[in-house]
């Protein structure tokens, strides 16, 4: 068992609770920084591209996590904000704006537009908000087609390469640079996110999640705070969308579809609602499943000569996993990890109901 003796307010304020934790995260950072070395050694960067994809999903996931996991507002429309960020980025780059300006700008504008779209629906709660954002998600593809001059419509649009002070970055020709760029954005956003959670802004978000009436009685302006959360969330999704465009190289009206929105929500539920870690764990699961299915398929085909070609297998598997998590581990993968860690930290004093919740996460979960 470890005891943290609190001798100053900094103990609670600083990012890492104790030295061991800081060491583990330093090791993790070293690991992710050194990952490309392995792919350089084997000379095949295909899997690194997949890892970069996971990081991009995690960035979008962090955006949704802030909104759903920390502010308690479900959204089934985050692919829309990704699309906004992606197409804004393409158009800025096409107009000759340097990437270093175009990228953050497209995220911010996606955030502002997202908030403007969201303001009328922010008065809705729980399942109604989910439905309104779902409608938004369904419309996204059509809007991409309508806005053909900017989006290329059904034919799609090619995403220009990234150019930072003369350094060309392309997913295929320079996968290592692209990986480091995405990693940098992800780490920066994690830092921002952590800062939010240890300051009044983040606390006002969680206050709204847990009790709106109480939040108001403490002087928190619901509409403004929810709009702020939506803005930050949509900005992160917009940034992820812009990176996703660079990663895909070519985007059409079907890229940011409803499935993407649902995948994002699924991701954060599997990862663990209300934890930054959850966005990353969820992204890893969502990133691994298609690869695992493909590998499993080829394994079955080559070893046992069994060919499984069921359309929609991935979606069915996703759905199955989601149902499994909601039933057996509502706190997600990170929650499971927390329980395992607590078990060993408190050994032998762990109790089964230590993580039991008295209230459900979203107000709509409650049986009225």
């Amino acid at each position: 068992m470890r005891f943290v003796f609190k001798t100053s307010y900094d103990t609670d304020i600083r990012l890492f609770k104790h030295r061991a934790q800081a060491t583990w995260y330093a090791l993790l950072l070293l690991l992710v920084l050194a990952t490309p070395l392995y792919f350089v050694a084997i000379g095949d960067a295909y899997l690194l591209g997949e890892i970069t994809g996971v990081l991009i999903l995690a960035i979008a996931g962090m955006g949704l996590m802030l909104l759903t996991g920390h502010t308690g507002l479900p959204s089934l429309g985050h692919a829309t904000f990704m699309a906004l960020g992606c197409y804004l980025n393409i158009n800025f780059l096409g107009a000759g704006v340097p990437w270093l300006i175009a990228f953050p700008l497209s995220g911010l504008i996606a955030g502002v537009l997202g908030t403007m779209i969201a303001l009328p629906v922010l008065r809705l709660h729980g399942v109604y908000l989910a439905l309104a954002t779902l409608a938004m998600s369904i419309l996204t593809g059509d809007f991409v087609v309508i806005a053909e001059p900017w989006t290329g419509g059904i034919a799609g649009a090619a995403v220009p390469d990234i150019n930072i002070f003369g350094i060309e970055i392309n997913r295929y020709s320079t996968p290592y640079k692209f990986y480091y760029l995405v990693l940098f954005v992800a780490i920066l956003l994690v830092w921002f996110y952590r800062n939010l959670l240890r300051t009044p802004t983040g606390r006002s978000f969680t206050a709204i999640r847990d009790s709106e009436i109480s939040a108001r009685a403490m002087g928190i302006n619901l509409t403004r705070t929810k709009a702020t959360s939506f803005f930050l969330s949509a900005t992160a999704a917009g940034l992820a969308g812009a990176l996703f465009g660079h990663s895909a190289g070519y985007v059409t009206n079907e890229t940011f579809d409803l499935v993407m929105s649902i995948t994002l929500l699924l991701m954060i539920v599997i990862g663990g609602l209300g934890f930054i870690h959850g966005a990353f764990f969820g992204a890893i699961v969502v990133g691994i499943i298609p690869v695992a299915i493909a590998n499993g398929r080829s394994f079955l085909a080559t070893t046992f000569d069994v060919n499984i070609n069921v359309p929609g297998l991935e979606s069915a598997l996703f759905a199955l996993i989601l149902v499994g998590f909601i039933l057996f581990e509502p706190m997600g993968l990170y929650g499971r990890w927390l329980k395992i860690r607590t078990y060993f930290e408190l050994f032998p004093f762990y109790r089964k109901d230590m993580f039991k919740r008295q209230k459900s996460y979203l107000k709509t979960d409650r049986v009225q």
Partner: protein, 263 residues
């Protein structure tokens, strides 16, 4: 000097008159109690002060502000803090975080400085934590500081809610049934705290309470309500012996012949 002035306030829910032309004042440094049977309109008055409900008529003034011109989230800024009858804490957060939310009205840093955790944000954070530690010390919550609300017993939650209200450093504290569900010892603690809040911190207290022992122990003036109407105002003893109050609680003594058929 009067801090809170409620003048001739009426609130209707459809055809039901929940509060009927009630006037009252809470003076500075006073403990004022509202008593009455269930459905008398006590909590409704609280919810009007908190601006969760809009009265149909009348005026509510606090410390020079017209509360009816303000929204619910502006009320704490004037210096009014409250607790709820059915505890409304932030369940997925620790005691410390709950109390820190109580400091929201003293927030000075904006979104940007929060995101980059500027030196200002850091200094503000330390200030908030100092203030919260004082409340933790006052209410003896040290043992629960880092515990999640979800795992705390009812009595402790009641104290945490009081602490969250105190953390905002209010001028007026609205306590909605502070002793409901508490044991005898816990109720006694609550009485001591309310006294200390009044005498040492100089905070005026307005409370709704059914426990007449607590009411007589701490409150200066008591108002009895029934069916949204004022029955009597005075000291606890005066109100308890007032015929209208006794009638509201115990009935008139005339037993209705048809009453027995009611289930």
């Amino acid at each position: 000097m009067s801090l809170l002035e409620i003048d001739n306030v009426t609130l209707r829910f459809g055809g039901l008159v929940a509060v009927d032309a009630v006037s009252l004042t809470v003076n500075e440094g006073e403990v004022f109690a509202l008593v009455g049977p269930n459905g008398a309109g006590k909590s409704t008055i609280f919810n009007m002060i908190s601006r969760f409900y809009d009265p149909a008529e009348g005026s509510i003034r606090f410390d020079g502000h017209d509360l009816l011109q303000s929204t619910a989230d502006q009320v704490p800024g004037f210096g009014i803090a409250r607790t709820f009858q059915n505890i409304e804490l932030f369940e997925q957060a620790s005691v410390l975080q709950n109390l820190l939310v109580g400091r929201h009205r003293h927030r000075k840093t904006g979104l940007l400085s929060n995101i980059v955790f500027s030196p200002n944000a850091y200094r503000e954070e330390v200030r908030h934590r100092e203030a919260v530690e004082e409340v933790i010390d006052f209410l003896n919550l040290q043992a629960y500081r880092d515990k999640m609300i979800g795992g705390l017993p009812y009595g402790v939650r009641k104290v945490v809610e009081l602490g969250r209200a105190l953390a905002s450093e209010p001028k007026l504290l609205l306590l909605d049934e502070p002793a409901s569900g508490l044991s005898v010892e816990e109720t006694q603690d609550m009485a001591f705290w309310i006294e200390d809040i009044q005498t040492q911190m100089g905070i005026s207290v307005m409370m709704v309470e059914h426990d007449m022992g607590l009411v007589s122990a701490v409150s200066g003036r008591v108002m009895a309500l029934s069916d949204g109407k004022e029955l009597a105002t005075g000291t606890a003893a005066e109100v308890q012996s007032h015929p209208a109050v006794i009638e509201a609680y115990l009935g008139t003594g005339e037993i209705s012949k048809t009453g027995t058929s009611r289930a």
